[in-house]
């Protein structure tokens, strides 16, 4: 459609209703979203967590990976203790290496959220491309790609990720690769389902009549209309990715010790848990739970709103 260049006041008049429909749709979406108190609260919590993670170097009381600022005498202090000259309060206690648990959580959140966002974005794009191609070309291409998806989905993601990481080794980049591999198939399936509906609509026919190339039709015309269901999956998958990364790091095949995520912190605290030094493990665990649950609640509500069956 964008090949047709319109000028003059008629064009502006013609374009205006479309814009109004867009804004009113957006307004309706916002209005529907704020109708659920739980969803609003979880969104706020999530945004706070993201802000805390991004701002960690500036807001955390201590840089937990600057060895010079650690004093081994402060190791395993209970929550609320102060350091020896009273200049710093360890609100959530300290761990076995005298790190402030609160600072470690803020830094750990950075790694966890980074891994989650990057892997979900990549899986989203790869999956959407596969799904759109399968839906658009149909036939053998569709059958082949969807068998691939079925096969991928028939294996538990934790098992696939474990084996992949066993082969690739540790590292933030490797965890991201493993997470992309286990997640793309969900997006591919959803994108295909959405694109099959869109494929038969008039605007696609119009676009093909204008002899636009197939990738242009797919990305510029079909893809934008498939985004809502994919967004729902992306949100829920983000929680899944963060939880999976935490699990992998807990099992010792995830991120390296130098860039600990929340899962790594929990794993480090686990050895102290049985001796009653609960805070090293407990608070990172609570932070992880808050992030994962709030993302899930946001996703749950998004699904209710964006479900096409609910549209009037």
């Amino acid at each position: 459609m964008s090949r047709v260049v319109q000028t003059g006041p008629e064009a502006i008049a013609a374009a205006e209703p479309a814009v109004r429909i867009e804004t009113s749709r957006w307004r309706r979406f916002v209005a529907q979203y704020v109708s659920s108190k739980a969803a609003v609260i979880s969104l706020v919590v999530l945004l706070l967590a993201i802000a805390a993670a991004v701002l960690a170097p500036w807001i955390s009381p201590q840089n937990p990976y600057d060895l010079a600022s650690l004093d081994i005498l402060d190791a395993k202090l209970p929550p609320g203790s102060k350091n020896f000259d009273g200049s710093l309060t360890y609100w959530l206690g300290t761990d076995g290496q005298a790190r402030d648990v609160l600072s470690a959580i803020l830094y750990g959140m950075r790694t966890s959220l980074l891994v989650g966002f990057v892997s979900v974005t990549a899986a989203f794009l790869i999956g959407a491309a596969v799904g759109l191609i399968a839906a658009y070309f149909g036939g053998r291409m569709d059958a082949f790609l969807m068998r691939l998806v079925d096969m991928q989905l028939s294996f538990p993601s934790i098992l696939v990720a474990l084996v992949l990481l066993a082969a690739l080794g540790k590292g933030v980049d490797k965890v991201i690769i493993a997470l992309i591999v286990v997640q793309w198939a969900y997006f591919a399936r959803a994108a295909r389902a959405a694109a099959i509906v869109e494929r038969n609509k008039e605007y696609v026919e119009a676009a093909s009549c204008m002899a636009l190339s197939w990738h242009r039709i797919l990305w510029r015309h079909v893809f934008p209309n498939c985004i809502p269901p994919l967004m729902v999956i992306a949100t829920i998958d983000l929680a899944h990715a963060i939880a999976l990364e935490a699990t992998l790091s807990f099992l010792g095949v995830g991120v390296p010790v130098t860039e600990p995520s929340l899962g790594m912190l929990i794993s480090n605290g686990f050895e102290f848990l049985l001796s009653g030094t609960y805070w090293i493990c407990f608070f990172p665990g609570i932070a992880l739970a808050i992030v994962v649950v709030s993302i899930n609640l946001v996703g749950d509500h998004l699904r209710d709103i964006l479900n096409p069956r609910n549209e009037v």
Binding site: F155, I158, A239, V253, L273, C281
Partner: protein, 324 residues
């Protein structure tokens, strides 16, 4: 009906074959076993001899064929660590995982189905909303996290149950089970609860959705119109119909628990197959990893097949519909 089963059998065989090729290819890509087995001082000539001895100089397809024919005989080589047959090591650990998975699925069914039916019958009540919010928690919280919290609460703070290990077992021939022993059951309880938390959440959701779909159907109205008491309407007419999706999901999940048990078994040092897998991955004990993967592939594929066929038998619409 028979044609459907045969076709599904062939499909399952194909999936297993493709997966075996993938596992083999992955094995081939990971690295050179000769470098790991030969001493660092070995000369090229000695390495070449090892390579020939192991048959690694033959063409790839021939190696794959040997791998397959050995795999059919359940021979995946010996563990690098203990020298025992990899298959034997896994089979030895199987009862521990089996009883864990069975108890976990049992708990989640017994708790999940009634809660799900209740939430489906009274979707607006406060309790139903509580159940549904609880189920969001249940499946969004990572498994190891739930395990840790249970350890903290029941093992460290209350001291009711041990924090890990398997406890005493009863032996039945070659099989050791702890489920029939009070102390054994106590150490089985926490890991089983950990897995059940996640699975129960899923069962609740499936049951609730199925109940809500079933309730407005004519046969429920008719059963009520006949004057049957509520217990019979729910216990017979409703339950029979919602069991189809529940059995399907439950069966598939039972298979997934074997994989999920990897995490739970590690948290609780439960000596099952999952713990063995993690230990083997950490120790680069390749034969055990391969044997475990192949076994899981065959197991999951077979389970899918059984669920599919069971589905056909349970649902007369599918059974009598013929080719579908």
């Amino acid at each position: 009906m028979i044609a459907t089963i045969v076709r599904r059998l062939l499909q399952t065989g194909l999936v297993v074959l493709v997966m075996s090729a993938l596992v083999f290819a992955g094995l081939y890509l990971i690295g050179d076993p000769v470098l790991m087995m030969a001493s660092p001082e070995a000369t090229d000539l000695e390495r070449e001899a090892i390579r020939r001895n192991l048959g690694l100089d033959r063409p790839l397809w021939e190696q794959y064929f040997i791998f397959l024919s050995k795999a059919v005989q359940l021979d995946f080589g010996n563990s690098f660590l203990t020298g025992e047959s990899a298959m034997h090591l896994i089979i030895e650990r199987m009862p521990a995982t089996l009883e864990l998975a069975t108890l976990a699925m049992f708990i989640s069914m017994v708790v999940g189905v009634p809660l799900g039916i209740y939430a489906g019958l009274r979707p607006e009540s406060l309790l139903s909303r509580g159940i549904m919010s609880g189920s969001v928690l249940g499946f969004s919280l990572p498994n190891f996290w739930v395990g840790l919290m249970l350890i903290m609460l029941f093992a460290v703070m209350l001291g009711w149950m041990p924090a890990g290990g398997r406890g005493p077992v009863e032996t039945f021939g070659p099989i050791e089970l702890s489920i029939f022993n009070w102390d054994g059951l106590r150490s089985l309880m926490l890991p089983a609860l950990t897995i059940a938390t996640a699975k129960c959440a899923l069962i609740i959701r499936v049951t609730r959705a199925a109940t809500r779909e079933c309730l407005p159907q004519d046969y429920i109205k008719f059963a009520r119109a006949k004057g049957l008491n509520e217990r019979r309407v729910l216990g017979v007419h409703l339950l029979k119909n919602i069991m189809i999706p529940i059995v399907t999901i439950g069966g598939l999940e039972y298979g997934q628990v074997f994989a999920f048990a990897v995490v739970t078994e590690t948290v609780f040092s439960w000596p099952g197959m999952g713990k063995l897998l993690i230990d083997s991955i950490v120790n680069l004990d390749r034969p055990v990893v391969v044997a475990y993967l192949m076994l899981t592939v065959v197991f999951l594929a077979t389970l899918n097949l059984i669920v599919d066929i069971g589905y056909t038998l349970l649902d007369p619409r599918v059974r009598l519909g013929g080719a579908a």
